[in-house]
Each structure stands twice: as structure tokens, then as C-alpha cells.
Amino acid sequence: MTQAKPIVLAEDNPRDAELAMAAMEEEHISDKVVLCHDGAEVLDYLYCRGQFGARLKGNPAVVFLDLKMPKVNGLEVLRTIKADANLRAIPVVMLTSSREERDLAESYTLGANAYVVKPVEFQQFLSAVKELGVFWGVINEPPPERACSHQ
């Protein structure tokens, strides 16, 4: 079964974004991906404001978060999502270069649903992103729909 819900990918690095999009394309789910270039954009999307003010209501199937991002970093976005009763149920996957223990620990403490270290090797990166996209965007059943409470 195919979900209609979008996948939010927060990635400030255009190359990483392009590589990730290439991976999604191979699985034909790239059209579901909403690309955000920093944490603030992710929050705008989730709260249906700014450039996303006119979007269709509803939470995404999953949010892929990079840790290091301009304006609002990944951990801050994660904290905001998990502190909001309407957003808390959205699965959040940390997708980052860091395998530092404290990043791992803090992410899980804040309620991250998964933590994936981006492999240096492209083939591994490719399969990781593909699997993540398919699992969270297609296989996984997201929480019941809730209307965007702000509009």
C-alpha cells in the first residue's frame, strides 16, 4: 500500500540533499519528499506557516532531521516536535554524520524514533536512505491524521 503522506527531509547541505533525492528517486518516492533547508523551514512546514502557509493540512509520514543546520538545529526541532501534543506522534529519524555518543544520547532522550549515521560510502548511504524512505514513508503505518491545529 502506498501512503499519500509526505516525507520531510531537513538537509542544509545541497549535495547531501541531492544524493538523498537521488536515492529516493530510485525508489520512486522522491515526489513525496518535502525538502527543507534548515530547522526553521521544518517548523514552518509543521505549523503550516510562512512558505508552507497554503499547504494541505496534515502531519508528514516522517521527518528526517540533520543535526547541524542553520537557524534552528536538529535537536531544537526535535525538542519542539516532541513537546507539542499535536506533533508528538510524528516519527522523527535523525540522519546525521555524527556518531558522537552525546548526540545519540540526547536525541533518544528527546524522543527520536531512530538515529542513523550517514555512511561515507555512497552505496551504503544510498541503501540507507532508500530503506529509510521506504520503511517510514511506505511500510510504516503513521499515527492517525490530525488536522493542523493552527489554521
Binding site: 549535495r15 547541524k68 554524520s97 555524527s98 556518531r99 555512511p119 561515507v120 560510502e121 552505496q123 548511504f125
Partner: protein, 496 residues
């Protein structure tokens, strides 16, 4: 003697603080003072303080002994004094009794009235008591003893003469003693008695006077000794106090300096942590991009790619992967240096088993003869020790890969009292012993990259971890004949 000891010891104490060494003096020309001072300077602070306290203790002992001796003398003198006073009193009593007896006896001779003999009889009665008392009081003083003997004789003689006169009266009547009555019967003897008693009295009073002078002098000496000794003790104690205070001040300064450096170090460590964090995050990204875009490029131009171009792309990917591995290894190396260390008992048998289970994919398709000894428990950080043996075993596997049958042995050296020595031995390509010191350095490799892959950090990590455990590492080997890597851990386990 007491003050002499102090005088010798005190100046070095005081000069020790100034910290000046008499210069321009050869050992031959050194005075005992300077030699003592030199010796004093070789002592540690503890020994100096101990020496100071010992001197104070010895000083107190000496002062106490002398004071005790002097006080005893005073007590003895006061005992002698009271004896002298008793003797003087007794002499007075004897003199009075003898005078009275003589006087009354003379009246008897004149009057023949027997009632006058009462005093004489009283003397006769008292004589044994008085002479015994006199003997007792004079027994310790020879010249008084002699005089007492003379006194005894004179008393005997006076009483004897008087007794003879009484008998004469009784036998021949009062007329027979008329001439004797004029002068008294024992008048001469009584004069002797007066004289000898006077002599004894004077002698005793002189003795008392001498003792008074001696006691006063002794008391004065004791007071002076206490004052001087006390002063010296105070000076010594002050020196010791100064030494201790000096030492404490120094220690405080060192502690402060240590703390300051510790803070600096902590700051540097934090910076390093931030640095490696950023390395971990930022250096990986471009490598991922290089590899990623190389792969995308290959995919895009797949059909038009000639062999050379394909190899170039392969090399780009390979280099990026290798750099990624290097960064990962370096991060592990840096983390091993600053990570908090646990201290617990580690079961080495289980540790090795779990490593081999993790390595089973690498073991696949290999012909390996394992020799696993029963290993003891060691003290240390389990994950760090795991890293050590993981590195040693992957090394052993790597460098035996050219052998038809690899033989790898994990064992323990015969028990020694303070160390546990574990080793990993293989029959691999080995190494030339002249390069042994380089083995454990970061980025040190003895093989070309196309022979055996690796980043040259594994053994550096082994050494760093074992050093943090307070242990040692070394290796033995020969080219083409295998290698043995040793890890020595202290039995108690030390944390650094």
C-alpha cells in the same frame, strides 16, 4: 649540655629558611657549623621537622632531669634543716637539764634536803631517751657524731661525780662534802658540756646557713635553666613552625598551580572535543559527496565509460572511503584518550569469545588453527580492553591472510606477582625487530598499503588504552616468522 646542643642546632634552622649556602668554601675549610648546615640541607621537610621535634623532646627531657635533680636536692636539704633544728633544740634541752641538775645537786650538797635531788633524778630518767635521740640526729654527720660522743662521756662523768657525792653524803654525812658543795660536784664537767654543746650548736647553725645558701643557688639555677631552656625550646618550636608553615604555603601554591593547569587542560580538552566533533561531522560530509558524485557519474555515463575512466572513478571512491576510515579510526583514538575509564573485573575468556563471534564474518573461508589458553580475570575498562584485543586479533587475522593455514594463539605468561601478561601470537608475515619501537606509533605502518590495508592507528590505540590502564605493551617478531604482541596489566588495576 642542653644549651650546647641547641646552640649547634639552632643557627642552621634559622639559616635554612634564608636558603643561602656559604659559597667559596671547599669542604676542607668548612666549619662544623657549615657542615651541619650542609647536611641539614640534604634532609627532606619531614626529616627536618622530625629533627626539630626530636631536639625539642631531648631538650625537655634534659631540663626535666636537671629540674628533678635540683628539686630533690632542695627536698633533701629541707629534711636536713628540720633535723638540724631538732638537734639544736635537743642540745638546748640537754644543756638546760644538765645545768638544772647541777644547780639542784649543789643545793642538795649545801642543805642535804633530798627534795633538791628531783632534777638530778629526772636527768637520770631522761638520759637514755635523750642520748638515743642525740645518736639518731647526729648519725649522718661525722664531726657532730664525735662531739656527741664527747658529750655522752661528759654527761656520764657529771652524773657519775654527782652520784658519788650523793653516796658520800649518805655514808659520811653532809659535813664530808662541804668543800665540794662550794664549787658543786660536776662543775667542770658541766662547763665541758656547755662548751661542747655550744660547739655543736654553732656547727649545726653553720651547716644550716650553708644549706640555705646552696638551696638558694640551686633554685636560682633551676629558674635560669627553665628560662633559658624554655626560650630555646620556643625558638626551636618557632623554627619548626616556620618550616611547616613554609611547606604548607608551598604546597598551597603548588595545589593552586595544579588547579589552574587542570582548568587550562580541561579547557583545552573541551576545545579538542569540539574539534573532533566538528571533524566527525564536517570532514565526513565532503567524502560522502566525493564518493556519492563519483557513483552518480559512473551511473550517468555508464555505457560510454572506458576502462581507464572506470579505474579513475574507482580510485576516487577508494580514496574517499580510505579517508573516511582514517577519520573514524582517529576519532576512536582521540576518544580513547579522554573517555572516562571504568574500573571493573573483566572476564578475558568471555571477552575473547565475544570478539571472535563478532569476527566470524572475517573468519569465513579461512583456515585457522586456534590455540586459546584459559585466561585470568583482569581489572580494567571492558569496552577499552575489548578494543585492544579486537585490534590485536584483526591484526593477527590480517597478517596471516597470506598463509595457507593461519595459526593464532591467545595466551597468558606464567603468573608474576604484580602483572598479568597476555599475548596474541600468529604465524603471519611478522616484522623486522629493528622496527619494533615504531609499531605502536600513530600512522606507523610497516607494510605498503597494497600489501595489507589499514590506517596505522590500531596499535597506537592498543598502547594508549594499555597505558591508561597503567600497563605496558611490546611486540616480538621476525620477518616471515610471525609476531607476538604482549599486553601487561597491573594486578590491582590503575586508572589514569
Amino acid at each position: 649540655m642542653e644549651s650546647a646542643t641547641n646552640h649547634q642546632a639552632n643557627p642552621p634552622f634559622l639559616r635554612g629558611e634564608a636558603g643561602t649556602v656559604p659559597s667559596g668554601l671547599t669542604p676542607e675549610t668548612l666549619t662544623p657549623f657549615q657542615r651541619l648546615f650542609k647536611w641539614f640541607q640534604t634532609l627532606t621537610i619531614e626529616q627536618r621537622v622530625l629533627a626539630g621535634f626530636s631536639l625539642v623532646f631531648v631538650g625537655i627531657l634534659i631540663i626535666s632531669a636537671i629540674s628533678y635533680h635540683n628539686t630533690n636536692g632542695l627536698l633533701r636539704n629541707s629534711g636536713l634543716d628540720s633535723r638540724s633544728h631538732e638537734l639544736i633544740q635537743l642540745l638546748g634541752t640537754i644543756e638546760t637539764a644538765m645545768s638544772e641538775a647541777e644547780g639542784m645537786h649543789r643545793r642538795y650538797l649545801v642543805t642535804g634536803e633530798r627534795a633538791y635531788l628531783e632534777a638530778y633524778k629526772r636527768v637520770i630518767d631522761q638520759k637514755p631517751t635523750l642520748t638515743a635521740y642525740l645518736d639518731e640526729l647526729t648519725q649522718d654527720v661525722p664531726d657532730q657524731r664525735q662531739r656527741a660522743d664527747v658529750l655522752h662521756r661528759l654527761i656520764e662523768r657529771q652524773l657519775g661525780v654527782e652520784s658519788k657525792a650523793i653516796m658520800q653524803i649518805q655514808e659520811r654525812g653532809i659535813q664530808s662534802v662541804r668543800t665540794m658543795a662550794l664549787d658543786g660536784a660536776g662543775r667542770r664537767e658541766l662547763e665541758g658540756i656547755h662548751q661542747i654543746i655550744n660547739e655543736m650548736d654553732v656547727s649545726e647553725r653553720q651547716a644550716v646557713a650553708q644549706r640555705v645558701i646552696a638551696s638558694a643557688a640551686s633554685t636560682r639555677h633551676t629558674i635560669m635553666l627553665l628560662a633559658i631552656g624554655g626560650g630555646l625550646q620556643l625558638m626551636l618550636l618557632a623554627s619548626v613552625y616556620y618550616l611547616i608553615r613554609h611547606d604548607i604555603t608551598e604546597r598551597r601554591r603548588v595545589a593552586g598551580e595544579l588547579q589552574r593547569r587542570g582548568e587550562l587542560l580541561e579547557e583545552a580538552n573541551k576545545e579538542l572535543e569540539a574539534f573532533s566533533y566538528s571533524v566527525s561531522h564536517d570532514l565526513r560530509a565532503p567524502l560522502r559527496h566525493i564518493d556519492g558524485y563519483a557513483a552518480l557519474l559512473r551511473k550517468t555515463v555508464d555505457h560510454s565509460l572506458n576502462e581507464k575512466a572506470a579505474r579513475y572513478l574507482q580510485t576516487i571512491s577508494g580514496a574517499a572511503k580510505q579517508m573516511g576510515q582514517l577519520i573514524d579510526d582517529l576519532l576512536v583514538f582521540s576518544r580513547m584518550g579522554r573517555q572516562e575509564m571504568l574500573q571493573m573485573t573483566v572476564n578475558m575468556d568471555q571477552l575473547i569469545k565475544s570478539i571472535l563471534s563478532d569476527l566470524r564474518l572475517d573468519l569465513h573461508g579461512r583456515q585457522i588453527s586456534w590455540t586459546l589458553a584459559s585466561l585470568p580475570e583482569v581489572k580494567g575498562d571492558p569496552s577499552m580492553l575489548r578494543q585492544v584485543f579486537m585490534n590485536l586479533l584483526t591484526n593477527a587475522l590480517k597478517f596471516t591472510s597470506t598463509r595457507a593455514t593461519a595459526s593464532i594463539e591467545i595466551g597468558v605468561e606464567p603468573a608474576s606477582s604484580d602483572e598479568i601478561v597476555l599475548y596474541v601470537r600468529d604465524n603471519g608475515v611478522g616484522f623486522d625487530m629493528q622496527y619494533a619501537p615504531k609499531l605502536f606509533g600513530v600512522f606507523q605502518r610497516l607494510h605498503r598499503a597494497d600489501e595489507f590495508e589499514g590506517t596505522g592507528i590500531g596499535l597506537a590505540n592498543v598502547r594508549r588504552i594499555i597505558h591508561r590502564h597503567g600497563g605496558r605493551t611490546w611486540a616480538e617478531g621476525a620477518l616471515g616468522k610471525g609476531a607476538t604482541f604482549y599486553v601487561a596489566l597491573s594486578r590491582e588495576g590503575t586508572q589514569r
